[in-house]
Every structure is written in C-alpha cells, then in structure tokens.
Symmetry: C2
Subunit: 254 residues, 2 copies
C-alpha cells in the first residue's frame, strides 16, 4: 500500500520542505519507519533528495511540530512514539459552537448590579476590598432551550452607561475589555463537576442535583492581578468534550 511518492518534484508549486516532510510522514504512518528508529543525518537527507540542508531542517522542524519526530543534539533525529495517554480537551467558546450548529443563540440577563467587592471576592479571587465591580447573572439558550448559566464579577472602571445587550452576550474577557480600562492578558480556568442547586435547576430546566460541568475562570491583567471572575454551568446532558490524539487527526486544525 503506497501512500505517496517517495521522490521530490522540484518543479512543483508545493514547497520542497513540505514534500520532504510528507515523505517522512507517510513512511512513519505506514510503519516503514518505526518508533525510535533514526532518520538519516541531515546532510545525508540533503544529498539523497538533492536539496540543501536548511531545507531539510525546515522539513524536520515541521515534523517535530506535528509530533512525528524528535531530535537529540549530537545524536540524530528519531521517530516519536505516539502519545495517547494524556488527556487534553478543548471546548471552543460555546456561542461560536451553537452558531456553527445553525441553532438560534439567545441570552437573558437575570440580574446586573454594581457592587463594592467584599471579603468573599477578596479572599476567593484577590480583588482588593471596596473596588467597584459589575455583577451579572446570565442564562444562554440555544433554540430557546437553556444550556448555560453564568455568574460573573469584574472590576468596573468606566463610568459610561451600561447597555444590557452588551452585557448579555460577551465572554468574561470581552466584558472586562469593554467595561473597564483594564487589559486582560491571562486566564485561568478550572473545570469541575457539580450537582445543580435549586436556583440552577430552575434556570436550566433540569432536575435538582443533575450533574453539570462547572467552569470557574479568573482573568488577570498583564501584571497578574485578578480583574474578573466567572462561574459557568453547562448542562451535563447536553455537553461533552472530545479529544483526539495520536498521529492521524493531528493536522485537523492546521
């Protein structure tokens, strides 16, 4: 079973380094090159395919980035063993996701107020006492079905009028950008499981104690000072996080 040509076409519009990387990828995924086996030295690869060493290095950089090979200084370049046992999950912004599925996205502001940060906010997040903050509760719907419930606190430094429509649909870091003069530079998110309380059950239209995803987010400015905090609850019966690892689907996102 041949998965591709083993020669380089110098007249092709496809870059030489890309053609070379493809050749090695094919040899690795077809088993011709086994894990931990070494590739020929760079100067040799250059000689074999009639190209320069920098071009060979560019191909190897590509293969390294995609996790197919690793290099050891002074020793050589070797085929990687695929990493399958780490879990790395990704969840795009749920607003994007709902729209991508062609569903109607809507949001409802349950509550909004300007508060002074209290001892809880100071202790839990590190926002200094008596700082002006906005506090929001929002429910997000897809095709009129409630899917996500969010509570957010963030430092509020602008004195411009607040538009409800601006508060409903924005993510925490967008809210901080638009409603304060602070610049969100870093974010920490923690994913937990939880069982819904009475308020959450009612807002999300699920039974009391239903299992849900709980994401707690803290947004920091460039000096690592916390400037916002959010809690999002995703219905467990409607959400899952999927992860692919290994060789095949790697270029999915490239």
């Amino acid at each position: 079973m041949s998965t591709g040509s083993f020669t380089i076409d110098k007249s092709s519009v496809i870059p030489l380094y890309y053609q070379l990387a493809k050749i090695f990828k094919d040899q690795i995924t077809s088993g011709t090159l086994q894990p931990n086996q070494s590739l020929p030295p760079e100067y040799e690869i250059a000689k074999i395919y009639g190209i320069s060493r920098p071009t060979v290095r560019q191909a190897i950089a590509e293969l390294t980035k995609d996790g197919f090979v690793y290099t050891l200084k002074g020793k050589g370049t070797f085929v990687s063993v695929p990493q399958l046992d780490d879990i790395s999950f990704e969840l795009d912004d749920f607003r994007k996701e709902i729209k991508q599925r062609g569903m109607k996205l809507s949001s409802k502001l349950i509550r909004v107020e300007i508060i002074k940060s209290d001892a809880m906010l100071e202790k839990k997040i590190g926002i200094p006492l008596d700082t002006d903050c906005l506090f929001l509760k929002v429910v997000h719907f897809a095709d009129d079905e409630p899917l996500v419930f969010e509570e957010k606190y963030f430092i509020y430094t602008k004195n411009k009028p607040i538009l409800e429509s601006e508060l409903e649909g924005y993510s925490l870091s967008n809210l901080v950008s638009s409603q304060s003069s602070l610049f969100p530079a870093m974010s920490e998110k923690v994913l937990k499981v939880s069982a819904v309380n009475q308020e959450e059950a009612k807002l999300l239209n699920v039974e009391l104690n239903s299992p849900v995803f709980l994401v707690e987010q803290i947004v920091f400015d460039i000096d690592e000072r916390p400037i916002g905090w959010g809690k999002s609850i995703f219905r467990g019966d409607r959400y899952k996080l999927t992860n692919f690892s290994g060789w095949h689907k790697k270029d999915k996102k490239l």
Copy 2:
C-alpha cells in the same frame, strides 16, 4: 519598568534569534507593542540589530509558535490579540499525577475475562462480532482511597499467559500493545459528566448519584480500525482540570 535589554549581545552564549525573540516578547507584554500593531519588516529588523534575515525569521517563527505574533504574506508581521476564551484542559495520566504528589498508588482488579465481542461492542465501537476480547474492571487507589474506576475492552490476539499485575496498572493503549499484536496509533476521548450508579458508588466509596467525570476512550490502529474501548470514572469531589491561557504562563511547559 524595563523588563530587559533592548540590544543583542553577539558574544553571549544565548542564541541571537532567542535574544531577539525575547526583546519582542518584552515589548509585547509590556505594552510597548500593542495588539495588531505591525513589527518592522524582516530586512529592517535585520539591519537594526545587525543580524541576518534568516536569524530574524527564526526569531519570528519562535514568536509565532508561542502565539505572540502572526504573519500575513505580502503584508507583514503583527502582534497577536491574546486568545482567552477557548477552553483547553489537560489531565496527565492519573497514575503519574498521583505519584508526583507523593501518594501511594495501588490498583485492584475487580474482574477479568476473555469474551467474544457481542452486538453491543460491534455497534458502540465497531469491533467485529465474535472477536476475542479481554474485559477488565479495575479500581485505582491513592493512599488506599478509591479515586478512579475503569472498565476496558480490547482485542486480544496473543495467547500468552495473562499476569494480573500487568493488567491492573496499564493504560488502555499500553494494554493493547502488551496483550495484542496490534499497534495503537490514535485515540479518541470524550469527557462527560455523570452521576454514579450503585456499583460505582460502592466501589468509589461515594454516595449514590454523586457527580463524576466520565471519560470514554476508543483506541484505533494506524488504519483507523477500533481496537480498544475504555470507560473511566473519576471522583468529582477529588478531580478538577485546570487550564491557563494567554501570554504569561505560555512557556510553562517548554
């Protein structure tokens, strides 16, 4: 507040491209260079710092990889806007994690048998009917507290004797490697939330209906044929997944 030198030291042991990348990183994180602002053209950067264009390009490749800048062909190189609203969670192999925390890891094999794959396995995973499979149930403990409950099915092609100790502690892809002649090349994992049933509650020593993380994994061979399936239940009161994104902690793992 100066976060570093703005000149390159050619006599330093630190590579020139790395020094140059550091200069731009400092300017970006300090706000001297704002998001979407352009860097000088490559030939100009080369002239300014007295280095060659390939070295400048190596620095820019580094900055691109770390998410600080992006390039547009024919237009230039620009400072990125930090991406904060994607969720990407990572959970290392839980065995590694428990050991890293200095806790005692142990595993208990609840059940093991050789079965022929049935209609459920064929439908759910795609393993052909009547294929020899191993079926396992294992509970993993940290300091004698049950934390994870796993059920696994995978194709069994070797006829060598099975050692219980080999089955207890291995991850699904390691099990497939060691107990069959198949080569796991890709893995799909889905993370869900769930509430424990009676059996799971008893084994994990939690109350009935407690919320838990549920990870379903399918392992594929190089031709994308499924060769193993696993379900892992992580106690919700003991597990969380943490994620950092943005500019600062980026080099954490490099």
